[in-house]
């Protein structure tokens, strides 16, 4: 087995799920949420042994904005430069709803399959 395979599998798996959890975090915020706060909530909720580099969040948010899933506004801050705060667009909400449904179906399926195997 190539030595890098486990890392590759983790990377591939994390790309889609990172998008999902970022969208869900924005959706779950009561008001427009800035990048640092998203990263903080994700880090707080991340299970032990699973981490993501917070800096990768920003290119992801930019992609989402270009895809029309989130909208950003610059909010002046007394403590430093203006912060970019994000909310979901109507398209973003639709995509998230579809994604959550897909995720739940996939999750059930994967758990069912994994529940029947015995890895030694």
């Amino acid at each position: 087995m190539p030595s890098d395979l486990p890392n590759k599998i983790e990377r591939d798996l994390s790309v889609g799920t990172a998008w999902l959890v970022v969208l869900a975090t924005i959706a779950g915020a009561d008001e427009p949420i800035h990048g640092y706060e998203i990263a903080r909530r994700l880090a707080d909720d991340a299970p032990e042994g699973l981490s993501f580099k917070q800096g990768t969040l920003y290119p992801m948010l930019r992609t989402m904005e270009a895809d029309g899933l989130v909208r950003s506004t610059l909010v002046p801050s007394n403590e430093g430069p203006a912060r970019k705060c994000f909310t979901l667009t109507a398209d973003g909400k639709r995509v998230l709803a579809a994604w959550v449904a897909t995720w739940r179906r996939t999750n059930r399926w994967v758990n069912t399959v994994l529940g029947e195997i015995d890895v030694r």
Partner: protein, 333 residues
């Protein structure tokens, strides 16, 4: 090493966040300048937020990711996002609107410019919107600037000057959005912090007058103001050139319509000696009509002129967009 470089090195050694941003900047060398600009601002704002929230700078940097890794994420972000690649209705992040321009003009067949959004965007920008906006910017800058200078001996002069500088930065950002939309040159998404204020909140407390000093010393404030003032003559010239070329092209392209409806294409005194008009058709009572032999060449002339005009718009848009981009990404001195 120059004196400036030594100062930067000393600052970086005292401030790990500054050092990290410099490393990230080095990793992003060769990237689109707007993307690089945004990446650096994202990193600095995030890391300073983390430090304000109680993390050490070293911990915040470790959580943020190695510069090479983050730079790679930004470079890769110019592709489509996961699961959306097929269905995305808008260009994905970074799918730089100016991607076609970056491929180079030579890769497009000459007539292909008719299908280039950047060329038509340039036509709309230079032939209408840019000129109108330039008048608005100039009027605003001169009005508030005059008021500010006139009221400088009074207490209201300084707030007016600061309003003018702040609005200049805001309008410059707005102009960037318009330019990106029409001229397809990518603009940064993040505002450049006012020089000297970017570290506020990391333990540094600046007084009111020092904050004002930062605004007045920041070269970007003045560059933006210079843009508002200097843009009008440039836009006026480009507007005149664009309208002239478009009207002339449209006139020539309409040759078959003039011919079919038996309408004169122009009117001239029989002896005014205007060579072009006398070449176009047969004069009759001062009216110039196209003949069957001239209508096609005249139409082709119009086609060639309009194609050239679209190329000109595309080229001007590319250069003009780069100028606006340079103002937006200029680093504070």
């Amino acid at each position: 090493m120059s004196a400036d470089e030594r100062i930067h090195e000393q600052t970086a050694s005292r401030d790990p966040i500054r050092a990290y941003v410099r490393q990230l900047a080095a990793e992003l060398d060769g990237c689109d300048v707007a993307l690089r600009h945004d990446a650096l601002i994202d990193a600095e704002v995030h890391l300073r937020s983390a430090v304000r929230a109680g993390a050490t700078a070293e911990r915040a940097i470790a959580d943020y990711g190695a510069p090479a890794e983050i730079a790679r994420a930004y470079r890769e972000s110019t592709g489509a996002g996961p699961s959306l690649a097929a269905g995305a209705s808008t260009p994905p992040l970074g799918a730089p609107p100016n991607a076609a321009a970056q491929r180079g003009f030579g890769s497009i067949p000459i007539i292909g410019v008719w299908a280039q959004p950047a060329a038509w965007g340039g036509l709309l920008y230079f032939g209408a919107l840019g000129f109108v906006l330039a008048i608005c910017y100039f009027t605003w800058a001169v009005t508030i600037g005059s008021l500010a200078l006139g009221a400088m001996p009074l207490i209201i002069g300084l707030p007016l000057l600061l309003l003018l500088l702040a609005s200049a930065r805001g309008l410059s950002l707005f102009e960037g959005r318009v330019v990106e939309l029409l001229l397809r040159v990518r603009m940064p998404r993040r505002t450049q912090p006012v020089a000297g204020l970017e570290g506020v909140g990391s333990g540094t407390r600046l007084g009111f007058w020092k904050r004002i000093g930062c605004w007045l010393r920041d070269v970007r404030s003045w560059m933006s103001l210079g843009y508002l003032l200097g843009n009008l003559p440039v836009s006026t010239f480009l507007f005149s050139v664009t309208i002239t070329l478009v009207v002339l092209s449209a006139w020539l392209l309409a040759a078959p319509v003039f011919y079919a409806l038996d309408m004169p294409i122009s009117q001239a005194a029989p002896d005014d000696g205007f060579v072009l008009e006398s070449l176009l058709g047969v004069e009759s009572d001062g009216k110039i009509f196209l003949t069957g032999a001239t209508v096609v060449p005249v139409f082709l002339m119009g086609l060639a002129l309009m194609t050239g005009t679209l190329w000109l718009m595309r080229g001007l848009g590319f250069v003009y967009g780069r100028v606006v981009q340079a103002i937006q990404v200029a680093r504070p001195q």
